[in-house]
Subunit: 420 residues, 2 copies
Amino acid sequence: MLPSGLRVVTERMPGSHTFNLGFFAAVGSRWETERLHGASHFLEHVLFKGTKRRTPEQISAEIEAVGGELNAYTAKEHTCFYARVLARDADLAIDVLADMITSSTLRSAEIESERAVILDEIAMHADDPGEVAHELIAGELLAGSGLGKPVIGSPDSIRALRRDQILGYWRRRYTPERLVVSASGRVDHDRLVARLAEYESLTAPREPSGSRSLSLSKSKPESPNAGDPLVITKARRFEQSTVVLARPGPGLFDPDRFPIGLLSIIVGGGMASRLFVEVRERRGLTYGIEAGETSYSDAGLWSVDWQCAPDRVPEILILVRQCLADIAEHGVTPDELARAKGQMRGQTVLSFEGPQSRMSRIGVAELLGDTRSVSDLLADYDAVTGEDVRRIASDLLGRRQVLAVVGPTPGLRALRRALA
Amino acid sequence: MLPSGLRVVTERMPGSHTFNLGFFAAVGSRWETERLHGASHFLEHVLFKGTKRRTPEQISAEIEAVGGELNAYTAKEHTCFYARVLARDADLAIDVLADMITSSTLRSAEIESERAVILDEIAMHADDPGEVAHELIAGELLAGSGLGKPVIGSPDSIRALRRDQILGYWRRRYTPERLVVSASGRVDHDRLVARLAEYESLTAPREPSGSRSLSLSKSKPESPNAGDPLVITKARRFEQSTVVLARPGPGLFDPDRFPIGLLSIIVGGGMASRLFVEVRERRGLTYGIEAGETSYSDAGLWSVDWQCAPDRVPEILILVRQCLADIAEHGVTPDELARAKGQMRGQTVLSFEGPQSRMSRIGVAELLGDTRSVSDLLADYDAVTGEDVRRIASDLLGRRQVLAVVGPTPGLRALRRALA
């Protein structure tokens, strides 16, 4: 960590010829107030639109001229700007990203043109039934913080955001103690730190009064066991219903994350999973069905997703409940558990292999404080017992259900009966 | 090379934990007769559908159980089946792929269900105006071999293909001397060869009468300078016209490939390219415009692509010609050339970095006989002079133009005038 609070993490990879750099900021919808809803993502767009030293075209053209890649994304708990170049162009990548993060001009004309782009993006998202269904679920199960709101904002919030609000948000949130710089591939840690030192606002020592650590405004998920099932429907003119059935799940630091990850694989993690075999192979009710957990730093959810003809939704809901109930009562077989661990191991190692995914992994991990290594994570999955999986299935059964159906919708009564 | 003619190429990469395996077959639309049009791609689908030892579900489930990936694609000159797994699961990946390639059952029921899937795929492709435009171009400029035909086949050819035709095609084309097995990552060459030896049909010595080398049925592109510009239009109900303007270009083994690659970057390879600056930045006629070469083993083409309002097509056509004419007359600047080389170097190295892309690169290279290393390729690009680029622009100007416009179409007369 530098005196400013900026954290720099690197991983040198033998044989790599590339330099993969990311700036990770603790900026995302979870910290947005009502009035600032969508500001994190809006700001991400605008930071590409010119600095004191570079026009918007120069930002892209300088990376392009060396055959590199430059991009960014905004998630609920973090924003990432990243570049990938040959090792010999490392200084250029550092300069372009640091320039964008510290010295953007946020010109009004650029803000207006990006506002139009984002309103188009919102319209596109609204056409994606899976995304709509997941946002409906998040709005219920992660209510109480910005985790329950779409990263992209709403048409109203995007239309209302003024330049001075975006500028203020940038100045308050992109401070050194809320930033992690991550690099991997052919990387020289000391040289990276020396280059970053040229940006005073990144590396100047903090004011003594400044808060050192990232203060998470805790999200306040409702009591997990509260109330009756909630059914949310959104009528759309599609052929198929898109369905997400969810319950509260563990956050990133909850040890339940490990048994629930294996439960997801056993219940709906591919072609050998219980639900795939029962719902698709035996009964032909749907083309596919999947289960999975979504974990944030202090909240999460567990969901089962599928698309099907509207009149098949209740039957599948009953099968999902039976599947969980069977595991809660009888547990899983040793074969199932071993297979789930093998699948998790392969997926995890494969997904973190390349220098770009390593850069991303160590950057997010440092930012959120989840600094376990991949082998630590794998050891935690390996330690899960059949009883752990049985117990988490039983826990889930006792938690509140939220069902979202987008597209043609069967009768509410049939849905409620299937969930009861 | 094994006694059977099977070639095995591997690249061990330090630090890798994965085993990346590909079977590359000299099978694609270029070798299909009229009656077999689409057979390569149809066969690729069917080889996933069960072997003597595995049901279709087992094929996918066995790779999935170790968290791996299994997929395939068919191109005009080759078909590739590939898997990515942890190094400890290498034997499984070898067995699954070799089993599919050598011992599929091609059951009639599976052929019929894949026929329906492919007919759907054809309908989807027909909705993509860029793909339609490029196929119209290929149908003209690469006529005389299957390179001029869509890999996926036509609705008529797919409906007409019988099981015995697909079976015969498989037996004739998936022979050891037409196959390359490629692996990279944490790979043991000798162990791979030993495992492959368990499949007699892959590794048994060839019959003495067998033809050893891959015989390319030469494509016969028309004389490059022949005739007037050809205009092909396809009316579709879109807002924008999709336009591809093409001329004959170099094949993979033609040294013109290097100057034309740099010309593509200078003319239309990103935001600093001449056409992007002129057509989009200065005149705002389109959202983007790109130039690029497509090279097969003995034929190729060079094209400029964009989408625009229909009434803007003629103006952009004139700008494209002026751009080439200006380079043919005045050449390119040293800065432009240096920038193009830097961009090419970065793109090339970045695109071949990961173990999976290395596996793919060495497999295709061995299959087509294009075994230059990445550093050899980069040296060839570096050796290109400004005069080389000027000369290739001048050559292109003298070659026959084919224009495809899909979507709303301006008057043919205006198009012909703009091309003259």
